[in-house]
């Protein structure tokens, strides 16, 4: 009996340092830029989650950071990378007014780089998770053949798209003019655009167009290209997208998980509901 307790304590002693302890990661991406990430090693038998922060944010963004911590405490492995946006060791969220020079594809390649980093660590299957615009990169990578195969499923929290119809999240004139200039092959100069919640999004035209293309149809098209199960966790109080969006997602084959009362960022107590929901999804998965 005494020997049994000693073994239990030894096991706990061995596990505790691993479970819930964040490991800062510096990784030189394929673009040559040094990127940062937070990595929680998974407990044995537990899957690892690649958790992508929202648009322009870092891995320290509270919603994703807290979710990662909660999952890691439950024994799940979590890698939360910060998209470099072309900045070495980026530690700060990038302002809308900052110079944005990275296109959607260039950012998506960084996701692939991080999947490669996990693969180098012997992790072949990863649960892809994202928040808000991070889901777009996840869907894009999942739709790709090269690294998408490592994603066993996708958990999309507060998934979004660029609402071109409302005219609020994008300036149709800017978009049309950019598209015309693109077609005309004009020099790619730095300009200010309205993009999502950024009213002075400063970027080159190509960057702008790479981001502005992701309207609802393009997103749904991406989803259709994804072969692994997709779960969507949406707060009932999330007013960021149109009200029918959850339903559209369901129609697109996404398993919908509504969190009652939560807003777009699952603020306050909703973050626990988010974590519980995500954990429930993870537990329910094979």
């Amino acid at each position: 009996m005494r020997r049994f307790f000693a073994l239990v304590l030894l096991a706990l002693g061995l596990l505790l340092p691993v479970v819930g302890r964040a490991e800062p990661v510096e990784h030189r991406l394929s673009s040559g830029v040094m990127a940062l990430a937070e990595y929680y090693a998974a407990a044995p038998g537990r899957p690892t989650v690649l958790l992508l922060p929202p648009f322009l944010q870092t891995h320290r963004f509270p919603t994703v950071a807290n979710l990662a911590l909660t999952l890691s405490e439950s024994g799940y492995g979590v890698l939360v990378p910060t998209l470099s946006l072309g900045i070495d060791y980026r530690r700060q969220s990038l302002a809308c007014e900052a110079i944005h020079t990275r296109t959607f594809d260039e950012n998506s390649r960084e996701i692939s780089d991080w999947l490669g980093w996990l693969q180098l660590r012997g992790i072949e299957q990863v649960v892809g998770a994202g928040h808000s615009y991070g889901n777009l990169y996840l869907l894009f990578v999942a739709s790709q053949a090269k690294r998408g195969s490592m994603l066993s499923r996708l958990i999309l929290t507060s998934p979004v798209y660029i609402d071109t119809a409302s005219g609020v999240l994008i300036d149709d004139h800017q978009l049309s003019r950019a598209q015309a200039a693109e077609r005309a092959g004009e020099a790619d100069v730095l300009e200010r655009y309205v993009l999502s919640y950024c009213k002075n999004f400063t970027a080159t035209r190509s960057v702008y167009l790479s981001l502005a293309q992701w309207d609802r149809d393009h997103v749904l098209a991406l989803m259709r290209g994804v072969t692994v199960p997709m779960h969507a966790v949406i707060g009932s109080a999330d007013e960021y997208q149109e009200a029918v969006w959850p339903e559209i997602l369901q129609q697109a084959g996404v398993q919908l998980h509504m969190v009652e009362g939560a807003n777009h960022f699952f603020a306050d107590d909703s973050e626990f509901a988010l974590a519980d929901t995500v954990e429930a999804i993870l537990r329910a998965s094979p």
Partner: protein, 745 residues
């Protein structure tokens, strides 16, 4: 400490100078203290200014460092190091938009890790390649002082990878002037001593700071107010001192000067009525009034004193009895006259008056009558003189006058007038039944003969004695023939002999003359008679006594005689069983010393009967004292004898009042027994009466047997005279007298 003697003005000026000096010293001291205080505050302000500048610079360094660090750590900065495609936009737009970015940053430039500028054209003259080491320093760039911050941009978490460098240029003046207004430093005056291309570490920048302090207006106002206060107080003090000086001048100095002038005028006898003092100072006014009152009282006192002096002078120079001038007045006038007339051809006559037989008259009628006689005589003489001539009473009944510019004849006329006045005097009116005579001695000389002038009184005296002689009509003008007669009286030789006899007693001799008892025929005692041996000449009392009386040495002479008798008694040369009679002057009798010597004699005169003989004239003065002493002598065993009875104005009152045992009749009275029957009868009756009254009677001057017989018949108990025994010195011969044998025990 000796206080210098100065005027009130000098003291006032000295006081003012002292006060102003003390105030000036205090003012200068206070001014220096204020200046010192101001300097200390100024130095403190400089220190604080430096501290302030240092703090500002330090804060700026911190602020610049913080800005540099934050920009260096800014991801968008890192982004430029990775991709500088839009560097100019970032530098011009993104960087200034940062909240931390300050407006005093005039240039920011990024350099890659190889220190090459990201910009092709670095701003504000920054180099394309930067060689500065990380840090903050100051230097002069493009003519202005700047702070340059060089910040290494660290990319990796372990800070090992320097991604590039941030160079930020700060406009130093704008940065500092934009700070909170410095309380001590005039920031507009701030400058830095920096050189182009000569960086100075920012931490030492304050050492290069040049600035001015903000004027401390409060301190300047305080110093100004203090200086103004000192000047005001000084001016007030000076004005107060001046007013005080004027006040002292008006209220003290001026009145005191007036008072002093007033006193000087009074002292010089000037009238000061024009200088009447009116001062508001009560004390000085009181002094002035007191002085005036004192002056009035003093003037009155002087008048009184003058009166007293005159009265005193009159008393001192007038005879209290006769109211004519006295001896003192004579001495002064005579000296003055001699000094005045000496050497001039002026005739001076000197008249000396002496009353004849005044002493007996005085003895007979008493002092009151005598005095009245003298008053009348003086009045007569004064009335007979010329107007302006003064009559002097020299003493007793002796008067004189000095007649200036008066010839001998004139003097005789005046003397005659005097005698006429005296002769006309009604003596009956003053109770005297006999006429009064006056003898006048006149001396005269011309004042050119100084020696004779000095001797005029003496010469008049000689003349006066001549005038008393019969046949002179009581007036005599001195001539040289009179001098011989006077030599005796005034011989200085005799005087010297007498004095020597008294002093040395060697020349003094006592001759003894027997007094015999007529009943027994025996010598009963000897009368001691003084003689002085002057070489070969023997001086008798007739020459000795005038000198003694003139020199007033009766007591000394009598004592010398008694001393010699004392020795004679001790020698045993005087026959025992007899006695010795000693002549004593009136002056000596009343003298206690004489009494002591007399009372000592019985001790050495065992077996002798001692007697004392006094003349009735000697008893006139101090009769009471003389009577007392005679009684004491009687009690001591002495017999007392009234000598020369009948020679003067003898009064039987003396016999009844005086304690005498023996009455010795004067020679003249005794010799009158041989005259007519009337005179003889009176003497006989007188002798019998006195003898019957219990007195022994001695007849003097018995020089013949006939007279001896008459004396015996007349009832005298004793007799004395040349017939019986001539005076002789010791040893005495056995008692055989001429004409009648008298036995000697």
């Amino acid at each position: 400490m000796r206080v210098p003697r100065l005027t009130i003005h000098q003291y006032g000026v000295g006081f003012i100078v002292a006060v102003l000096s003390v105030f000036s010293i205090l003012g200068v001291f206070s001014y220096q203290r204020i200046i010192h205080f101001q300097d200390r505050i100024h130095n403190k302000q400089i220190e604080r200014g430096h501290y302030e500048i240092e703090q500002h610079i330090q804060n700026l360094i911190v602020e610049v460092g913080k800005i540099s660090q934050q920009i260096a750590e800014w991801d968008e900065t890192h982004q430029q190091l990775r991709n500088a495609g839009f560097y100019d936009y970032w530098r011009s737009t993104r960087l200034p938009a940062q909240a931390i970015y300050a407006d005093f940053v005039i240039a920011t430039e990024l350099y890659d890790h190889q220190r090459n500028a990201l910009s092709a054209l670095p701003g504000f003259g920054l180099p394309k390649r930067m060689d500065y080491r990380p840090g903050i320093f100051a230097l002069q760039m493009q003519g202005r002082p700047v702070l340059v911050s060089v910040q290494a941009i660290i990319l990796s978490a372990n800070k090992s990878e320097v991604g590039g460098y941030l160079v930020m240029v700060v406009d130093l003046m704008r940065a500092l002037l934009g700070k909170r207004m410095a309380p001590y430093v005039d920031m507009q005056s701030l400058s830095f001593s920096l050189q182009e291309g000569d960086p100075v570490p920012a931490v030492r920048l304050y050492e290069r700071a040049r600035f001015k302090l903000i004027r401390d207006e409060n301190l300047e106002r305080l110093v100004g107010a203090f200086m103004q206060s000192i000047m005001t107080v000084g001016a007030l003090l000076f004005m107060t001192s001046a007013v005080f000086f004027l006040f002292i001048h008006q209220l003290v100095t001026r009145p005191i000067r007036s008072l002093s002038n007033h006193i000087n005028n009074l002292r010089q006898g000037l009238s000061s009525s024009s200088n009447i003092l009116h001062t508001p100072v009560i004390e000085i006014q009181n002094i002035y009034e007191s002085l005036n009152n004192y002056r009035v009282e003093l003037t009155q006192a002087n008048l009184d004193l003058d009166d007293k002096n005159r009265e005193l002078w009159n008393l001192a120079h007038h005879d209290a009895l006769t109211r004519v001038y006295n001896r003192r007045a004579f001495d002064e006038d005579w000296r003055h006259i001699r000094e005045t007339v000496a050497g001039r051809r002026i005739e001076i006559s000197f008249l000396l008056f002496d009353c004849d037989r005044f002493k007996p008259l005085n003895d007979t009628y008493g002092h009151a009558i005598g005095d009245q006689v003298l008053v009348e005589v003086a009045s007569c003489l004064e009335g007979a003189l010329r107007a302006g001539d003064r009559l002097y009473r020299l003493g007793g009944d002796e008067f004189c006058t000095v007649l200036v510019e008066c010839t001998p004849d004139g003097a005789r006329v005046i003397a005659g007038r005097c005698l006429d006045k005296i002769a006309a005097l009604d003596m009956q009116a003053i109770g005297v039944n006999e006429a009064l005579g006056v003898s006048i001695g006149i001396s005269n000389t011309t004042a050119t003969d100084r020696d004779r002038l000095d001797e005029l009184p003496k010469l008049a005296d000689i003349a006066m004695y001549t005038a008393k002689r019969p046949g002179q009509n009581n007036v005599a003008l001195y001539d040289s023939d009179m001098l011989e007669d006077s030599l005796t009286l005034f011989s200085s030789h005799i005087t010297a002999v007498v004095f020597d006899a008294i002093a040395n007693k060697r020349s003094l001799q006592i001759h003894y003359q027997a007094v015999s008892n007529l009943d027994t025929g025996r010598v009963e005692y000897y009368e001691a008679l003084a003689r002085i041996q002057d070489e070969d000449t023997l001086l008798y009392p007739s020459k000795i006594l005038p000198v003694v009386e003139d020199r007033r040495i009766e007591l000394e002479f009598d004592l010398a005689v008694i001393a010699q008798i004392h020795r004679d008694l001790q020698s045993g040369a005087i026959p025992t069983g007899t006695g010795v009679a000693i002549n004593i002057s009136g002056v000596s009798l009343v003298n206690p010393t004489m009494m002591e010597h007399l009372m000592a004699l019985p001790q050495v005169a065992q077996g002798y009967q001692l007697s004392v003989e006094v003349t009735e004239t000697s008893l006139i003065t101090r009769l009471s004292q003389a009577t007392t002493h005679l009684k004491q002598l009687q009690r001591a065993g002495f017999h007392t004898c009234l000598d020369d009875f009948g020679s003067g104005y003898s009064s039987l009152r003396y016999l009844t009042d005086m304690p005498v045992d023996v009455v010795k009749f004067d020679m003249g009275l005794v010799q009158s027994l041989e005259a007519n029957a009337q005179s003889s009868g009176i003497v006989r009756a007188l002798a019998n009466m006195i003898r019957d009254a219990g007195y022994k009677t001695v007849a003097e001057g018995v020089e013949s047997e006939a007279l001896l017989n008459i004396v015996g018949d007349a009832g005298f108990s004793h007799a004395q005279g040349y017939y019986l025994h001539r005076p002789q010195a010791l040893p005495l011969a056995s008692g055989v007298t001429r004409g009648r044998l008298l036995s000697v025990p």
